[in-house]
Subunit: 171 residues, 2 copies
């Protein structure tokens, strides 16, 4: 059993979204690791997520295509670093799948970050923590200005709605 990595959060560099949600850690894990679920909640409406590829192991590919209401598509690809079922999922845009360093950043809105999703059982639901680690305060600033809290928060609302609706359907 590998010891979990230490994630050191620095308020000057990082962004954190912490919420309690009324779905079990099992369902949060499924929502994040099965493309058929992820495509229904990952991008705040009216944006959509037409494509999702998940190779769920360290070094594996996490690739998503997001689409604007005008039909403009944006692809993002990263590499999983830690896959600890129903507890912690970490990936980074600083590496391509297979751990190769990602190409240098080319535009102002493009920057690499490492993301961690941490889920802890709490009452009938989950204490949900999403962390984005950045290399410098500038990248943190760009990510915040792009609407990190609002965007990740809305996506989480969608995750909850989708997974609760599925749970109801399967009763």
């Amino acid at each position: 059993m590998t010891e979990l990595a230490d994630l050191t959060i620095d308020p000057a560099l990082d962004l954190v979204l912490e919420r309690w949600v009324d779905v079990s850690p099992d369902l949060v894990w499924e929502a994040w690791t099965q493309p058929r679920h992820l495509k229904r909640w990952f991008t705040p409406a009216p944006f959509t997520t037409p494509e999702c590829e998940i190779d769920l192991r360290p070094g594996g590919r996490f690739r998503v295509v997001m689409r604007s209401p005008e039909g403009e598509e944006m692809e993002t690809e990263g590499c999983y670093l830690e896959v600890t079922p129903v507890r912690r999922l970490i990936w980074t845009g600083a590496l391509k799948p297979g751990y190769r360093p990602a190409p240098a950043v080319r535009s102002v809105t493009d920057f690499a970050f490492t993301a961690a999703i941490i889920m802890e059982p709490q009452g009938t639901g989950t204490k949900y923590t999403a962390i984005a680690l950045h290399r410098d305060p500038e990248d943190r600033g760009k990510h915040e200005a792009m609407g990190f809290h609002d965007g990740w928060g809305k996506a989480l609302d969608q995750l909850v709605a989708v997974m609760r609706s599925d749970a109801r359907d399967s009763v």
Copy 2:
């Protein structure tokens, strides 16, 4: 048990050193993972390795200080990605410890790469493979011009000499 990551080697992007050495995989592993050993072989003479820090787990720190005969010091720091004892060790300079993206590269001789050391038992010794993965052909070219094959080869000769001498002393 986590499945091992796929490392895809691209000759246009990557550098590989493959050799058979007459030390066991156990000793190669020790040489790479214990600072007291690593400091004696890591940097080809007359350069030395006065400092080495190893936090041997995914996300952990790998930090080395190398010193030239003139006393100039160069520090390098990376993050372990895979720690599979006596089989495979992978780290990257594209991430800081704790998986944070590393600062953007600042100079021509400075570039990020991911390194993998693979050891396989073969006869009385080890089939040893060192791989350096780069983001683009330019970084591969810089690394090759800096003397990747010669430097990593000489360091490996030193590793073998140091570990065999220790093994003899302990008889």
